[in-house]
Amino acid sequence: MTKLKLDRRRFLGSAAAVGGGFALGWTVPGTLEAFAQKQVGDAGSEVGIWVVIHPDDTTVVRIARSEMGQGTLTGLAQLVADELDADWSKVRTEFVAPEENLAKKRAWGDMSTGGSRGIRTSVDYVRKGGAAARMMLVAAAAQQWRVPAGECVAADSVITHATSGRKLRYGQVAAAAAKLETPKDVPLKDPKDWKIIGKGVKRLDTAEKLNGSLVYAIDVKLPGMLNAAIAQCPVFGGTVKSFDAAKIKAMPGVHSVVPVGENAVAVVADTWWHAKTALDKLPITWDEGEHATVSDATIAEFVKSGLDGPQAALGQQQGDVDAALAGAAKTVEAVYGTPFLNHATMEPMNCTAKVDGDKCEIWVATQNGDAALAAAAEAIKIKPENVKVHKTLLGSGFGRRGMTDYVRQAVVIAKQVPGKPVKMIWSREEDMQHGFYRPITQCQLKGGLDADGKLVALHARLAGQSILASVAPSRMDNGVDKLAFQGWLADELGYMAVPNLRIDMGVRNTHVPVGFWRGVNHNQNAVYMECFIDELAHAAGKDPLEFRRAIMTKNPKHLAVLNAVAEKAGWGTPLPEGVHRGICQNGGFGSYCAAVAEVSVDAKGKLKVHRIVAGIDCGYAVNPEQVARQMEGSFAFGLGASYFGRNTVKDGRIVEANFDTYEVARMADVPKIEAHVLASGGFWGGVGEPTIAVCTPAVLNAYFAATGKRLRTLPLSQHGVV
């Protein structure tokens, strides 16, 4: 069993690696423990900065990005191991500690893990890290043999001298290789020579997730540790006016009651249950601030005003939309809308912190180790160099754990209990009501068809909240949040052949904090665009696939995926009685996706999705098996949200406090999913998020095919169809 090493050496190896290169049969001999990572000793040699090789050939690949279920840890290890020519069954992983990355001036690059960038923006340097290590190992063997390195070849962690047939294992030359200079000119393999990249190897982090031994951040145990429960002002922007600690001081286990910033109070106790129980009894008076009267109705009206308000931020335009609409043979218009949505990660927000004078140590599940480190330092005004971050695997992230509010809170609490580690855990209710929600938006679309039924004008006006204005205003582009137009700018929109096009937005920022939610703005934008394109196809009297093909002539990669998925789904072929199809496509996060849904609607009007056939072209697929799992997972996440997901606002606060009112997808809600990885090569696209955008429009378009009714607002539960 692996324990979180508290007195770690240079790195924290909490990424439990599991031998997995070999195909497992349906029955596994022995115990899970046999597959669990064996504690790696100290004897390893650092060959370059990315690889540590032990005398027994155990090869530890360092991972800078975070693992939240998306499989990046395994994918990155594959990239390094392939260029290293390592024996995959010997590969383990460990996280780079953020403070090491800081001390070495970001030698391991960007630690942030979001935007489906974990792999695609580090492919070059991690592969070079593996290749450089291989060159060093080969050079060390050549030196030992006194032969030119060019006469030696490496494969499966063994170096062979071609002419003499002599062999040395990596473990035998690692110590010597570690002393060599890291080469600067590092050629990478031609994709045709990849052995591990592109293979559906098993994840390296599975076994310990099956027997309860994996230590998530919420499971951290430290000597003398206290636990904290926190209450934040229910109204966003409100503050704590006062609290009466005396009332709960005598309750079992209570250690202290501490203010946390302007808007929260925490109870610190021996156990979290004691802390939570006491917090529930703590009299707190809130200053709810100026937003305490905001409700769904006021928000809806405010957002709607952005549909025809004058200050529209421009996304892109070509041609003359207004003239083309005026001159169109037929015009179609529709308004769509989607609600706020919480991430609701399985593991609620939590962080353990210990503050000792001007030094701080945290144990945290974060999507960005660097940011967590900086946030801890800034929260209590200490030097970043004085912060140590123990990264754990995440009980999911979906963008929520790219924020650091919970890290700052834990550190501020721990500072008030000096010298003692304090584990702060949010209750699910706090987690539900203090998120960074998927933005609320509405969209008005106008389309113009010519006499032949071809789309000649398209105007999409978004109205609603900007994520960047809320969380990263400095990243706006001359006051415009380009991210709001995800899927619709020239580099992502599949319909650039439409001659007259305008994409704009009436920004309407509410007081509800918004953030990056798996798939981000593609989620709702794809619903708006793909359902409206379907409306236009219907108005033109054309098949939705044919209609799209005609306006995708400038976007061959989008079109190729759409065509492939249509073919795999049997588009146009007969279906069983009562079953209908819908189709859609979307480009985002560097990948191209399409889906076909097959649905039926029963006599009571209830929707049933029988099957979704989907495809992604992510260029190179590092691990097609894991890509397929990401596609399935994204559909469960996306469909659940579209069926039930909705955060409502009353008296300035979020109403839904738990999974009883914020319903998400469960087993019975998820249809059969056929996930096709259509990797065409030549580029690296993201895989964790892009497919989520295509599940809902496909289903909604199929619902129309079945009923002739358009559902233009989500969630579907409000229409009584699920």
Binding site: G306, A312, S466, A469, G479, V507, R508, N509, T510
Partner: protein, 108 residues
């Protein structure tokens, strides 16, 4: 605009020739001109663009500031103590308003 408050840190007494540290801070939003408001309109730039410190009327230190200076701009610098008197501080807003403060200093 809400009340603007400044705070300056100057030793009350110092020896002649001593180099003293001066700290200043003023409450000001330093609106960068980059942000948008709740309906997407650009919030116009409004910053303190100039700071001047004078010692008995003689300018001893000054600054030009641009939008990267944070809200409630904070500054520390040094000056040589020459004689007893008054050290004055002036902050110039984009809108032309000048905010001032002063502190006495006694040479011992």
């Amino acid at each position: 605009m809400s009340e603007v408050v400044s705070r300056v840190g100057v030793p009350r007494k110092a020896k002649q020739g001593e180099i003293i540290e001066i700290r200043t801070v003023i409450t000001h939003p330093m609106e960068s001109g980059q942000r948008i408001n709740e309906v997407g309109e650009r919030v116009p730039r409004k910053i303190i663009n100039r700071f001047v410190c004078s010692y008995n009327g003689v300018e001893v230190f000054a600054a030009d500031w641009f939008p990267a200076i944070t809200a409630n701009p904070y500054l520390t610098f040094y000056t040589v103590v020459t004689e007893s008197g008054t050290i004055t501080f002036a902050w110039v807003d984009d809108d032309g308003t000048v905010y001032t403060a002063s502190a006495p200093i006694e040479v011992t």
